[in-house]
């Protein structure tokens, strides 16, 4: 079976993102988001490994009428895995989490990740109290995955098992304050940002 292409999967999910706010984890999720859906409503992340889900949770609490989608890798998710229990306890109806699981630390040299062997992140989510999860392995399921992430009442978590990156990284701005200003202006309006 051909392995899922991570950038194509993300492009397909975000094709009809509507007014969704997207928080990508540092590394390839950040680059892929910029490549497939460059919008002011993207909160690009360059540091703080483990804090992508918390960032998405804070945003979901602050913007309860907007869908908030966290897109992150398996390594980043594992570092902040306890945050899934906080998400479950807060139960934001507008928060979705996509773990793009390539079972490795690709950014640092493709070292084997914990999800390659013994760890099932969707099962951890269930055990943390996130009752709706989905694991996707092939291209036929991506349409359903997009619906699950953008329309299902949250909190939800999906794991997409993907192959190594085939596309060159493209980098969003590294202007931290600029990312915040742009995002807040898009979400809150220029006068409140």
């Amino acid at each position: 079976m051909e392995m899922l292409n991570r950038r194509k999967v993300l492009a397909q999910i975000l094709e009809n993102r509507g007014d969704a706010l997207v928080v990508p984890g540092l590394g390839t999720a950040n680059y892929d988001l910029f490549a497939v859906s460059s919008r002011d409503e993207n909160a690009y992340m360059w540091n703080a490994m483990g804090l992508t889900v918390p960032t998405g949770l804070g945003l979901a609490i602050a913007q309860p009428d907007r869908r908030v989608l966290v897109v992150t890798g398996d390594g980043e998710m594992m570092m902040g895995i306890g945050s899934l229990s906080v998400v479950a306890a807060q139960a934001p109806k507008n928060l979705s989490i996509l773990v793009v699981d390539n079972e490795m630390f690709e950014e640092t040299g493709a070292q084997t990740g914990l999800s390659a062997t013994c760890v099932d992140i969707a099962q951890i989510a269930l055990g943390s109290g996130i009752q709706k999860t989905m694991t996707v392995n092939n291209g036929n399921e991506v349409t359903r995955l997009a619906e699950f992430l953008l329309e299902e009442e949250g909190p939800v978590l999906a794991v997409a098992k993907v192959g190594p990156s085939t596309d060159k990284p493209v980098y969003p701005t590294m202007d931290g304050p600029g990312i915040v200003r742009t995002f807040r202006a898009a979400v809150l309006g220029a006068t409140n940002a």
Binding site: A48, G58, V86
Partner: protein
């Protein structure tokens, strides 16, 4: 522990309301009990219990992106858990307001608390965090007011540390 005021919790709660802070993220501490109880009882303040303090930095950053002001309440030992996380608001020049109840200071009954307790200020300052250490009730209030202005007015990462002498010591029967 009773909810009767300890000389600072009621004042700080008033400042939280005045500043429009509607989200309080915390790994609790005994010294924070009164304040957290007041926050929990207020319908306009959401208290989020964390699994580790670092999450509160991320939640606070995300909340700021969405237009909500937050406060992170933690015990001094938790400051060690959030160092790399502080790079997020620091890089983005976004507000991060913290209220830290100290352990490992004068009167501490558990020597295991000393290493982290002693390191808080130097570790925080190394990360560029402004530390305001209050040694009496009046200072807690005035420093908290100052910290609110620095965080939300200037986009600073700032911590009010409440010295152990203000909150009382856990003596472990000694």
């Amino acid at each position: 522990m009773s909810d009767s005021d300890d000389g600072w919790s009621g004042e700080v709660f008033g400042l939280i309301k005045e500043a429009g802070i509607s989200l309080v993220n915390t790994v609790p501490d005994a010294g924070l009990t009164r304040l957290l109880n007041m926050c929990s009882k207020d319908p306009d303040v959401r208290v989020v219990t964390l699994s580790t303090e670092e999450e509160g930095v991320g939640i606070g950053y995300g909340a700021w992106l969405g237009g909500t002001r937050s406060l992170l309440c933690l015990q001094s030992s938790g400051t060690g858990n959030i160092i790399n996380g502080l790079a997020l608001p620091a890089f983005a020049e976004s507000p991060c307001l913290m209220l830290v109840t100290m352990r490992g200071q004068e009167g501490e009954g558990n020597p295991a608390q000393f290493p982290m307790g002693r390191a808080v200020t130097s570790v925080f300052e190394a990360m560029g965090v402004t530390c305001l250490e209050a040694t009496d009730n009046k200072e807690v209030t005035s420093y908290f007011r100052q910290a609110v202005d620095m965080a939300f007015g200037e986009g600073k990462v700032v911590a009010v540390l409440i010295a152990q002498q203000v909150i009382g010591s856990k003596t472990f029967g000694k």
